[in-house]
Symmetry: D2
Subunit: 309 residues, 4 copies
Amino acid sequence: MSPRTPRFRGVVPPIVTPLTTEGEVDAASLERLVEFLIEAGVDALFALGSSGESAFLTDSRRDRALEVVIGTAAGRVPVLAGCIETTTPRVIERAEIAAKLGADAVVVTPPFYARVHPVEVDRHFRAVKAAVEVPLLAYDVPVSVHTKLTVEQTLALAADGVIDGLKDSSGDDVGFRQVVLGAAGMPGFSALTGHEVVVDAMMLAGADGAVPGLANVDPHGYVRLLRACAEARWADARAEQDRLARLFRIVEAASPDSAGGSTRGVGAFKTALALRKVIDRPAVAAPMRELTAEETRTVAARLEEAGLL
Amino acid sequence: MSPRTPRFRGVVPPIVTPLTTEGEVDAASLERLVEFLIEAGVDALFALGSSGESAFLTDSRRDRALEVVIGTAAGRVPVLAGCIETTTPRVIERAEIAAKLGADAVVVTPPFYARVHPVEVDRHFRAVKAAVEVPLLAYDVPVSVHTKLTVEQTLALAADGVIDGLKDSSGDDVGFRQVVLGAAGMPGFSALTGHEVVVDAMMLAGADGAVPGLANVDPHGYVRLLRACAEARWADARAEQDRLARLFRIVEAASPDSAGGSTRGVGAFKTALALRKVIDRPAVAAPMRELTAEETRTVAARLEEAGLL
Amino acid sequence: MSPRTPRFRGVVPPIVTPLTTEGEVDAASLERLVEFLIEAGVDALFALGSSGESAFLTDSRRDRALEVVIGTAAGRVPVLAGCIETTTPRVIERAEIAAKLGADAVVVTPPFYARVHPVEVDRHFRAVKAAVEVPLLAYDVPVSVHTKLTVEQTLALAADGVIDGLKDSSGDDVGFRQVVLGAAGMPGFSALTGHEVVVDAMMLAGADGAVPGLANVDPHGYVRLLRACAEARWADARAEQDRLARLFRIVEAASPDSAGGSTRGVGAFKTALALRKVIDRPAVAAPMRELTAEETRTVAARLEEAGLL
Amino acid sequence: MSPRTPRFRGVVPPIVTPLTTEGEVDAASLERLVEFLIEAGVDALFALGSSGESAFLTDSRRDRALEVVIGTAAGRVPVLAGCIETTTPRVIERAEIAAKLGADAVVVTPPFYARVHPVEVDRHFRAVKAAVEVPLLAYDVPVSVHTKLTVEQTLALAADGVIDGLKDSSGDDVGFRQVVLGAAGMPGFSALTGHEVVVDAMMLAGADGAVPGLANVDPHGYVRLLRACAEARWADARAEQDRLARLFRIVEAASPDSAGGSTRGVGAFKTALALRKVIDRPAVAAPMRELTAEETRTVAARLEEAGLL
């Protein structure tokens, strides 16, 4: 549909990081998860994103998780690596390691904790780009970094070859549409949506692919969904998306009275993967908590409804 | 596509309120605008919304604007009336007047200025519903009221027959999708999106119609767009939407260094309507400002690109 | 201490508006409250502020409340009138009525609901000033209007004689200090703090007076407090303030699981006033709720601790 | 004044981290700065806080800075170490290193980037406390972490001996006052304010000490200020604070059109220290920028006014 030939496209699960009860990377589970996703037909993997608990892993655990993903993928699909750190020097340090470990691209947010001006956000991406050889994707996730990338910023960075794509988890589909329109003449640019329940709509709007956390749990569904979009079978796409949108409500299983957004999302994905026997256990990093037995039953019920159990 | 038969659907422009240089309602221009929109084939009109400068009009001007819209529409299309006020007693007062003036529905936001709990937001809508006979639509516009209607709140109010629909200007398409899914079994519920640049995507996602401010300027475009959606010509829908998304950038004409969001949006729509000779002048209410001559040229250029001048 | 001779100073309670069970102004209770406050020695009254439920009253109820306050005060203390409306034309309409009813000053927030630029906020205050004869105080209350007046804006408006004072409910004591410093050479400017639990500290920092919602309940305490400050008896001031800070926790009586900030504050003040037999009943406007019997007992217990029951 | 004997009190500068032009820690400058502060009479040092560019330093640079501060202080004053990281495992890792390097306390924020529930924030502090031996201070800095510690959370953690103090940079002096009141019976608790322009007021309100970024530049002023507070010479305290409040406006020197809050603050402090010949150069970490020559002249002019150049 698009005249573009984006470097990254299709289904790109932000892979979760299975943990041991001590909080270490559970390499065996992670390997199984990588296999599960690749066999389902995903197009790439995004390691160490928000769903990958990047913010919850020590650097050595980050390195270990990335090694396992890259090693297991073994070139069958590209691996994008989140380099989620507060500021430029810290991001560059992580990006250098990711590149050395073999990541096919790095994914970088605007600075956080620091209080920065848009001009400084721009400088941040340019400095990271200058420091590493691999492609760079901007990760727009204001719910976590509390700074929104504007359409203008994104397109300026894209036009100058600083960023090779956008991973949009902003919820601002209006802005995403304008980025897609503005990037029409930039053939390699990858516009990836992180909104797992409107992927059909965003593909219609011109997205190149999706990074749905829920694709950890049901990669086959997202693969079918993106195939339907690619073949312009929009009614099929919508039906598949509607099914996935219902499944997505597993993120409501954990009580909002005792669980924050990270627990509710990642905790549910891991619980579902444990129920599906892909990973050994649903352990999450502190200060998150595992889902309770009752919450786990809610997840199980939704998986059954979706035909996944 | 949907088994629902929503009461309100299709293109529902949030009609702007043309003003005289003294700030009074310019009835002649408003009549022409109503005719222009109805002749273009819109399905309903939404008066006194954010685009209608409801928050900028004294009560007598609000009454006057609503009278003109309802009188001119003369039953050809339904007229929804915004009743945008801080709290329950003030909303009810406005809703009673709107009903008396002949509005076919009232559109109500959560309380603002007041600091309220979700339980109180729920009580607010129930009290308004109890006080007026006409259908009630919830208006989710957190950028203005700083409270977001949750999926749960919306569906609970819909299930109890308190609200007859949702006008979503929240930017949260993920939540909108969940509302659409949850309302599947509520035949009369109207799910209207306010996101003018992703209407194609939201229609694919199950919206019943759209309330695009830009439809003041190019109603024909939105009528074509929704027709394409209704006929499942999604590639056509996307092409039309892309054209409209480009046109929408008239809202960037006014400098962000001296104009807030209200001026940038409403000011641009009125400027375009004056350039198109539908209304007499682009006057806006204080403390907004009219677009400068240079900014007006930017709007004119975009109109020309879009074939509207 | 200050070389300034501010027009308004001392204890300025933001007087609550007692209501009947039907939501009308309870004039008899309001008269008693005015007498109670004046007899306690307050320096002025601020009617129709946030504590006065301005955002919850229809215009006719606003007018009635203001009439009663001004009529009962009968010139013994000045009456400031809140003109809390979304935008310039609506504020001016309210300000003209307030002036006609005899208010000694009007108190005006930045626009809300509307999305405005700082330049437009500035224009707003200038337009209001141009429209009414009475003194104008800026009301900085970002928790309700979601726009913060900056130090620069405030001082520019003060230097140009647009605003005669500031009622600071922003929580930004750092900014307040800078305003006080910047206004050192503006003799008539009134710097009033709305932070009832740090009045001693703000008086030390140069405030001219305080607008404590809690002064509805314990005006004698605030009168003692400000006298101690005026006489540089800072240890006494702190002890009085500490007592009032403990009393202020009546605003925590209403459960945060079912009551928003408005209910928790105004509801508690009215409950305390009813317990103290100053007003007939603790009725609040919709969608707020009255405190439950148990919550009321909590308020009573705190009043007893404070020696007020 | 307080019956408490807090572990940390008085002037506790959040020491900046001088850098080389390559971004490495400039140890010689940092040593001189430590000497400058200790000779001025400060009571403790807070290394690796926001002013210390903790979020901008790689881990090895953080370690180096902390080593230099602790080594130079050599036990003359206690050294508190910021352990500013996104989540529990990462904070614990930093806290263990800080303790090993000899820090007298660690200072920890709520989680950031992660989306957490208050229950999870509580768990976070308890887990950190369980992991390290040294005293733990909570750092309330919502402008950076976007979560506010509530009065209830803080007092519950203090009552259980989890936190030994609070470093309040929230701007919420009302909450701070309630914490001070609530901690009255906890003798070792340290209530430290981070609001450099209202230290007099916060000391009157019961603070035990202050952590003013500006104390890097003018430690003598803050030492005089806290001495006046300790001796209840409140008029002197206010006069000293007013002088410092004027000096604080050096943080407005960098243009808000091209510099974020971090640059404006830290950049100004470092510029002033370089002008005062305490550190070699005003280098800041990316993506911040140094002040321009013109902005530097503004800083110099303010230093001269304050008698510091």
